[in-house]
């Protein structure tokens, strides 16, 4: 656990693997049980994956209200972890945070990898409202193979009929998505489009070809807005591209950096 003084937070950090430093920022769902992407990345990198307050054992979400708060918090965490020129990887909401970090602190972030990041809004391609979804509606939205995705999401899960489990689930869901809502509700746009020009990092953008939550056309928009960027499209993968095709995402990162 990391402790930061201002705003006061306590941060759980998942660390695994050896090699070059890689900072991983999760999406609105947090880490998945036995997260396949983290496992794959840890085979080649020294992975540090902090959990945002509201997720897991990380606390202090009441002190983080908006995009700037979260961006500066993430930069503080990176500094506290003493990572050496890490590759900063972020998925979905984590990609949005990573892009903001790279835009605001562009001298500090030289290698950036955005996995289906949130943060832009195209009127012709509205992003579905995850905050109005019921749990059973999520797997087909997040995965190309919805059935495999459902198993991944519920691995180690319990019985929703059990009151104690249900209570824990509701609290966990409210904490996580309550925090995520500060960046994503009701429209996942906090002005990133106007700041992407500041990113000087070498940037890899990865998108699942079958992403139905944030459609692949958003990949083109990110590619266009970030100067030193490359877009890699992964076949047979949905929004959770890293969890669905961990080997392909690992290879793309290894090839690019």
């Amino acid at each position: 656990m990391l402790t930061l003084k201002s705003p006061p937070t306590r941060i759980e950090v998942v660390q695994a693997g050896k090699g070059r430093d890689l900072l991983f920022l999760h999406g609105a769902g947090g880490h998945m049980p036995n997260d396949p992407l983290l496992a794959a990345l840890a085979t080649k990198y020294r992975v540090s994956a902090p959990l945002l307050p509201g997720y897991g054992r990380s606390e202090g979400e009441e002190g983080l209200r908006d995009m700037l708060d979260v961006t500066l918090h993430a930069l503080d965490v990176m500094e506290k972890l003493k990572l050496k020129k890490p590759i900063v990887v972020g998925h979905s909401m984590g990609g949005m945070i990573a892009a903001e970090m790279a835009a605001i602190a562009h001298t500090e972030i030289g290698k950036l990898c955005l996995l289906a990041p949130a943060g832009l809004w195209l009127d012709d391609h509205p992003i579905a409202d995850i905050f109005a979804m019921l749990p059973y509606e999520l797997p087909p939205l997040l995965f190309h193979d919805a059935e495999a995705g459902r198993k991944l999401l519920t691995a180690g899960g319990g019985d929703m009929g059990d009151l104690e489990f249900l209570k824990q689930f509701l609290v966990m869901n409210a904490r996580r998505l309550g925090m995520a809502g500060k960046l994503l509700f009701p429209i996942p746009d906090r002005g990133l489009a106007g700041r992407l020009y500041r990113i000087t990092a070498k940037t890899l953008i990865v998108w699942g070809k079958e992403d139905v939550l944030i459609p692949p056309v958003y990949g083109d928009a990110f590619k266009k807005a970030i100067s030193k960027s490359k877009l890699v499209r992964v076949a047979k993968a949905g929004h959770a591209v890293g969890q669905e095709k961990p080997a392909a995402v690992l290879k793309a990162i290894r090839d690019f950096f």
Binding site: R65, A132, E137, L170, V171, A174, G178, F185
Partner: protein
């Protein structure tokens, strides 16, 4: 006891296959279903009914705020209350209320409530709801986890604006005003305040701290409200304040006819319309993550998600609804008995009676209203004799001699 005749102002023309064709009555129901010229008729009929309620002796008439909602057609309850100030003269105008986190700046609420209080000659009862998740988060876009902080700040601003006699600066997180200067000021300063609550401990304390009346607006009847209201009274006892029943209110669907059987015949279809169509809300809109506090989830609010607690409204018969006391319906004697039980078991000094239900036609609304006013209400007036059946802190204080309104043609 204080009886307020409360209108939701539902859209009365939802088709029979509404449930099959639409996932929700609220938030994303296409507005093409609304026909403005029929809306004109409905609004005026509804306002007439509120005025009628004053005429037959209700203490208050009530309106509330909803957005993108086919069972609540008052995005601005203040407009409705304003029309009522002109053709009523005695009843409290219970505006329950303005969702203060949604106004930018929330000073607008201080101003409009002051206007209503002045217009009505001091008859305003002001409500400050947090607002449902459907209204506040989904229809109006407030970030769920910040809603309560925004609400608390708005409340602070409104109370300061009413209290101040000089302009002042307000440097809030969500509202920054160099010159807060509330013109007009309310006659009652402050007006009595009712807070619609849903079982969070924070709201209990908020009411106790500010001497506001806690109002539970539920459609599921008084038996299921017992646990929640017990929680409130337990908190009142813990806080060692007096236990005036006027610290609390409850909303109840009520239908009165000459006999129990007649009540079912007259009102059954409209009750069914209400529970089947009006309360058909997509569960994904019910509770945006972050809207409730963690403490609340860990305590009372959870019970609604527990297995077996799901209310199966579409399949509930008249018998289920009456025997389960979701609705209080029947002959004047039946209704009197059940209302007495409601008032005593929940310990409430305020009742918000929902006597227009779903798509009920005007003649039935008036019939039920008149029977309640004449044959039920008088028998319930003296249930809190130890409080002289009134508590000055929780009701309006009208001017003694308001000006009579004149008709232009005279």
């Amino acid at each position: 006891m204080k009886f307020t005749w409360f209108h939701l102002m539902p859209w009365p023309h939802m088709p029979d296959d509404f449930r099959q064709k639409h996932r929700s009555v609220w938030v994303d129901l296409p507005s093409r279903m609304y026909e403005p010229e029929l809306g004109h008729i409905a609004y005026h009929q509804y306002l007439d009914q509120l005025e009628y309620a004053e005429q037959v002796g209700f203490d208050g008439i009530g309106v509330n705020e909803h957005h993108a909602n086919a069972y609540g057609l008052m995005p601005s309850p203040n407009i409705m209350a304003a029309t009522l100030t002109r053709r009523t003269s005695k009843a409290a105008l219970v505006v329950l209320g303005n969702s203060i986190a949604l106004y930018n700046p929330p000073l607008r609420v201080a101003e409009e409530f002051a206007m209503l209080d002045v217009l009505s000659g001091g008859r305003l009862v002001a409500g400050f709801p947090v607002g449902t998740s459907m209204d506040t988060n989904y229809a109006y876009g407030t970030i769920p986890a910040l809603t309560r902080e925004k609400y608390a700040e708005a409340h602070d601003l409104i109370r300061k604006a009413w209290a101040a006699d000089e302009p002042f600066a307000f440097n809030g997180r969500y509202t920054k005003l160099r010159y807060v200067n509330c013109w007009p000021k309310p006659i009652q300063n402050p007006p009595p305040v009712f807070i619609p609550g849903g079982g969070s401990v924070e709201t209990y304390d908020f009411c106790i701290d500010n001497t506001y009346s806690y109002s539970y607006l539920s459609y599921s009847g008084y038996l299921r409200a017992k646990l929640l209201m017990d929680g409130y009274w337990k908190r009142v006892a813990e806080r060692k304040v007096d236990e005036s029943p006027y610290r609390a209110g409850f909303a109840q669907v009520i239908c009165v006819a000459d006999t129990d059987a007649e009540a079912e015949r007259l009102y059954g279809p409209h009750v069914s319309y209400f529970y089947n169509r009006c309360l058909h809300v997509h569960p994904g809109f019910a509770d945006a993550p972050g809207y409730r506090t963690i403490k609340t989830i860990q305590t009372g609010a959870l019970s609604q998600f527990a297995p077996g607690s799901g209310r199966d409204y579409p399949n509930m018969s008249w018998k289920d609804l009456t025997e389960g006391r979701y609705i209080v319906a029947g002959s004047p004697e039946t209704v009197r008995q059940q209302m007495e039980e409601l008032i005593k078991t929940l310990r409430v000094g305020n009742v918000f009676g929902l006597l227009h239900i779903g798509n009920m036609p005007d003649d039935k609304v008036r019939h039920s209203t008149k029977l309640f006013a004449e044959k039920v209400m008088p028998h319930l007036r003296n249930l809190w004799p130890e409080w002289q059946n009134h508590d000055d802190r929780f009701w309006c204080h009208p001017m003694h001699e308001p000006v009579p309104t004149r008709v232009a043609a005279e």
